[in-house]
Every structure is written in C-alpha cells, then in structure tokens.
C-alpha cells in the first residue's frame, strides 16, 4: 500500500511518522517546507510527547516526484487545500483521498480535483519543534467515512482505518462521519476563535466566565445548524469543551499559534463554515458571524 501525506506540518507529521513504522506501507510526505523535508530525509521524522515515534517516510518538496498513490491524506491548513491537491493531482488520480483537516469545506474542495473522497476528523494535536521533530501534544481518535457527494468506497475507508489503527493512530470507519466532524468543528469554533481574540490559552479561556459565555453561544448556534443538517453528533461539543479544560489548560489552539505568528488562520473553515451552513439551513448565527469578522479583522491588521 502506498500512502501520500499531503501537507506534512504538525498533523501531517503525526500521520506520516506513524504510518512509516509499518513494513507493508510505503509513505510519501509532501510539504512545501524544504527545511522540514531535508531534515526528514537526513535523520528521519521524530515525534515526542504523548509517545515517542521515530521513522523514515520519504519526504519531498517537489510534487512531481510523487508516484501514483493508493491513498492520500490531506493535512494542509484549510486555505491551502485547493493548491496542494492541485499540485499533487497526478499522483492522487486513482487514490482515495482523505481530509484530516480542521473545520468544514475541505472535502468539497478536494472533490473538485479527485473522484474518491473520504471525510475525516482527527483529534490528536501537536506542534512543530524544529525541522524533522514534532511535539505530539494530545492523543485521541480519528474518524473517517465516505464523502457522500463524491465518495470513496466503504472498503477503501475501512482499509485506511485499519492501516492507521495498526500504525498506532486509532481510527474509526463510519458510513457517516459528519457527527465527529461537526463535534470537532463546533468545539474548535468556540476554542480557536475566542482564544485567538483574547490571547488566552485554551483552559484559561474556558474558565474565564465572560469568555466562556461567548463560547457557549458559539456552541449553541453550531449545534442548531448541525441539527438542521441532520447530523447526529458524535459527542456534545459542550461536554468535550468541559472535559478538555484540565488536560489542555495551557494549550495554545492552532489558530492562536497562527495569530501569534501572524499567519493566515482557518477561520473561514471554522466559524465561517458554521455561518455558511447556517445560511443554507436558515439558522441565524450572529455569534459565529461576529467571531468570523473579528478574526478576519485581526488578519487585516497585519497588512496595514
């Protein structure tokens, strides 16, 4: 089996490093960071934190070097989904391509380029320590299922889930993976956006009563939209938020990391995604709309 990880940042590296520990899987990691690619090829890819993993995927910065793939795992930031899939479309032509990205809207973009798409949501998180080395911050499951408008087969979904689970990334194959996706979407819309606006780490934002009230409003709106879409939630995002406070008290959500580094954020795929689906289903989302506009305003401030 040949699997390509498209976008090998922190999340992509968790997948690539685990998969490359398997003897029967050939792993290719594509990333635009030449430093990260060179480091992986010289010394391997190393994870540290939740677990220690050291393996040797083949890393490339030139997508033309990719051989034809059986599976693609897209792990770029949401704003690079289209360009990354386009750059690797030859290798992905016959592959089942799975998004493990944040938010909603990535599968739709992938389906513009390839025929077999898998919806995916992953809970593990990490951050880059240095080229070739990733801090693995939190563990957790990954949920995958066919993306209905342009689906991979359930056999392909199951095969990918089994392979990931064998590699140490516990993955659940589901006929409808929207429940996990919307659980994490709504959780992230509350945590990422509001931590970014207040510059508070996750747990500190959650225990600040004033901020928590806004988080709860963002979550309520998201749940109403999910309900209108007919999505059966994997978990209640409010419970997920509550149970995450202690374990992630000082955790900086990825969007907060982006804001501190003045990198474009995934807000369009998170609160912006809830607003878009809210419009489709006729559910008003004033709090998500406010968070979306404020984070976009924050991004605009860097260009002044």
């Amino acid at each position: 089996m040949r699997i390509g990880v498209i976008g090998c940042g922190a999340i992509g590296s968790l997948f690539a490093a685990h998969l490359a520990t398997l003897d029967d899987v050939e792993v290719w990691a594509y990333d635009v960071s030449k430093a990260h690619v060179d480091a992986i090829n010289q010394a391997g890819l190393r994870l540290t934190g939740v677990g220690e993993v050291h393996s040797r995927p083949r890393a490339i910065a030139d997508p033309a070097e990719l051989p034809p793939l059986d599976f693609g795992i897209v792990a770029t930031k949401g704003m690079f989904t289209g360009s990354a899939v386009q750059a690797t479309v030859t290798a992905l032509a016959n592959a089942a391509v799975c998004s493990v990205q944040n938010g909603v809207g990535n599968e739709e973009i992938i389906a513009e380029h390839v025929a077999k798409v898998i919806r995916g949501t992953t809970f593990p998180a990490g951050h880059m320590l240095e080229p070739g080395v990733v801090q693995w911050d939190t563990g957790g499951k990954t949920w995958i299922g066919p993306f209905e408008p342009s689906p991979a087969s359930m056999d392909e979904v199951t095969a990918l889930a089994d392979t990931l689970t064998r590699s140490g990334m516990e993955t659940v194959a589901l006929p409808d993976a929207r429940g996990a996706q919307w659980t994490k979407l709504i959780f992230n819309a509350a945590s990422n956006a509001l931590c970014s606006l207040t510059l508070l780490p996750h747990g500190r934002a959650c225990v600040h009563e004033d901020v928590r009230w806004v988080m709860d409003r963002v979550i309520e709106e998201g749940k109403l939209v999910a309900e209108a879409l007919g999505v059966e939630m994997e978990m209640d995002p409010a419970d997920l938020l509550e149970s995450s406070i202690e374990v992630a008290f000082e955790h900086k959500p990825s969007m907060l990391q982006d804001v501190l580094a003045r990198r474009a954020t995934e807000i369009d795929m998170l609160n912006g995604g809830i607003v878009r689906f809210g419009e489709e289903t006729g559910i008003p989302t004033p709090f998500n709309r406010t968070a979306w506009a404020l984070v976009r305003g924050l991004e605009a401030s860097w260009k002044l």
Partner: protein, 321 residues
C-alpha cells in the same frame, strides 16, 4: 475672580496636564500624582504646554491629598480604570468642592458621587495631547470639552456654567449643556463599538470599520453594535445628539484616517498594545449595564464586552504565551 480660585487636578496624564497647564493661568492649581518623582518634578520645574498653546505654569504638587490646599474645584483626570482609587483618595475631604470627571465613557461620575457629598459635574472632552515628560505636555487637538451637571449629586446647570467659564477664561474650548447625556451617549456608543473591535482585532480605525460589502467586513458588526447601543439609549429615554453610525462613517473618511497607514489608534487599542487593562467597563460595559437596567437585549455588545474582559486577563503574569 471665578468662584473657583483653587483647583486640584487628580492625575497628570495628557488630559490632566492640559487642564492643569491652562487653568494655572487663572487659578491656583495643585496636582495630585501617583508617583513621588512626578510630584517632585512638577514642584521643581512647573508644567509646560506646547503645541496649540505655549504656556508655563507653576503648580503645587503632591502624592498626599492631605497636603493639598483646600480646593474649590477638583478635576479627576485619571484613566477611568483608576477612578475608584482616585475617589478613595478624595473621600472624606473637601466637602464644599465641586468635583468634575473627564474620563472616557460613562460611569465615572456615578462612582465619584457615591464616594462623597460633592456636587459632581461630568464632561466629555475632545481635546487631546501627548505627554512628552512628567512636566511637559504637547497640546494636539484644541477641540471642545462638553460639560454638564450630574443631577443626582445636586449639581445644576449653574454649577456647570461656572466650571465652563473657568475653562473658557483659561483658553480652553468649552460647551456647557443643561443635559450632557445626548452628547455623552452619542460619543459613548461610537467609542464603545470602535474601541472594542479595535482592542480585539489590533486594527486601527480604518475604512473596513464602515464597509459592508463582503460578509466579514467589519461594518456589519459595527452597525449591529451601534443599533444595540441606540436601542439602549432609546429605552433609557436619551435622545442622541448625533448618529453614532454616521460618526463612524465620517471618522474613517476624514483627514488623516483616510490614509490607512495614519489611521487613528483608539485609546483601548493603545492600552492593549501597552499591555494595560482597558477602560472597557466604562465604555462598552456602560452600555451593557444600562441595557440590563432598562431591559434591552444587546447580545453582541455583551459578547464583545466579555471578550475584551478576557483580553484584559491575558496581561496577567501567569498567562504565558
């Protein structure tokens, strides 16, 4: 001679220094500071005003209100966030004095009123300056200060007029209003929306604040916040002096702010950038409190107010990013 022969200015930031520097021309002025070195410098060097005025004034200065000559007028010119501390320093003293507040937003006059028997006059100032040093302030905008009585304290229009005459005699532009609230609330609603969005986005007051084309243009949010503020004013029986949305549109299309690189940095954004707590409780917080009092629904104002409270918390030492 004005009825205010002796004036005490509490807090010598830019606005306090401008007041002290000008009023010292027509009254005996003392300045209450927080730092001993600041008081010593003022005693030694006096206070210099440059820019729109060119003045040098000798002042009395101290960190201890007990050493102040009994004033006829006290001008509390601290930041709104220090109003309780300033009021506590005055509490039990100068019962015959008129006390004037000149803070951003709304709420300082009420806090001062609760702390003593003084007649309270409140004001909204549009003058601005930059503190160059402890003893030198540069006077930038010589626009007016609006003054009106705070009626629950027993102050009336005549009290406000007397303070207004003192300011005018000292060369400061002033307008005295029988009811300050229409002007105060117009500025409050405008400031509350601009300052809160700026504090959260780090974005100076640029054209995006009035644009409503794309869904994420900040004009939508600004408009919604201002509508909530107008609802509160209406429910509280305050007829606004100006439309805050028009103030927003005009401010971003006028003069220096037309060029985004020179855009105005609202005071709460300056606070956030300096790592200081904002005056949110007196600005958007005042709108939300009044909304609660009159029973108006202001969900987005509440959300922004509470997010800025969270942003203020990020300056605490134990928060390390």
């Amino acid at each position: 001679m004005s009825r205010f022969g002796r004036v005490c200015v509490v807090g010598a930031g830019a606005i306090g220094s401008l007041c002290a520097g000008h009023l010292g021309q027509v009254a005996e002025v003392s300045v209450l500071t927080r730092r001993p070195a600041h008081a010593e410098a003022l005693l030694r060097d006096g206070l210099r005003v440059s820019g729109k005025s060119d003045l040098h004034t000798r002042v009395h200065a101290s960190v201890d209100p007990a050493t102040m000559p009994e004033p006829d007028l006290v001008i509390v010119a601290t930041k709104a966030t220090q109003i309780s501390e300033a009021g506590a320093a005055l509490s039990g003293r100068f019962p015959e004095a008129v006390v004037m507040t000149i803070q951003n937003g709304v709420g300082a006059e009420e806090i001062i009123h609760r702390l003593g028997p003084w007649e309270v006059v409140s004001s909204v100032t549009f003058m601005s300056g930059t503190r160059e040093s402890d003893t030198h302030v540069h006077y930038e905008l010589d626009t007016a200060t609006w003054i009106g009585p705070y009626p629950p304290s027993g102050a009336d229009h005549d009290t406000a007029l007397a303070v207004g005459h003192l300011f005018a005699d000292a060369g400061l532009a002033v307008e005295v209003l029988a009811d300050l609230r229409p002007a105060q609330w117009s500025k409050l609603i405008f400031n509350a929306s601009v300052n809160s969005v700026a504090a959260l986005t780090d974005l100076p007051h640029v054209a995006l604040y009035a644009r409503r084309d794309r869904p994420t243009d900040l004009g939508h949010l600004m408009f919604a916040l201002i509508e909530e503020g107008k609802l509160v004013a209406r429910e509280a029986g305050i007829e606004l002096f100006e439309d805050p949305w028009e103030m927003n549109v005009e401010a971003v299309s006028r003069g220096a702010t037309h060029h985004e690189e020179y855009a105005h940095v609202p005071s709460m954004l300056a606070d956030v950038r300096a790592g200081q707590k904002t005056e949110i409780d007196f600005i958007l917080g005042a709108v939300v409190r009044e909304a609660d009092r009159v029973g108006a629904d202001v969900p987005l104002s509440r959300a922004l107010y509470q997010l800025v409270k969270g942003r203020d918390r990020s300056h605490d030492d134990e928060v390390v990013l």
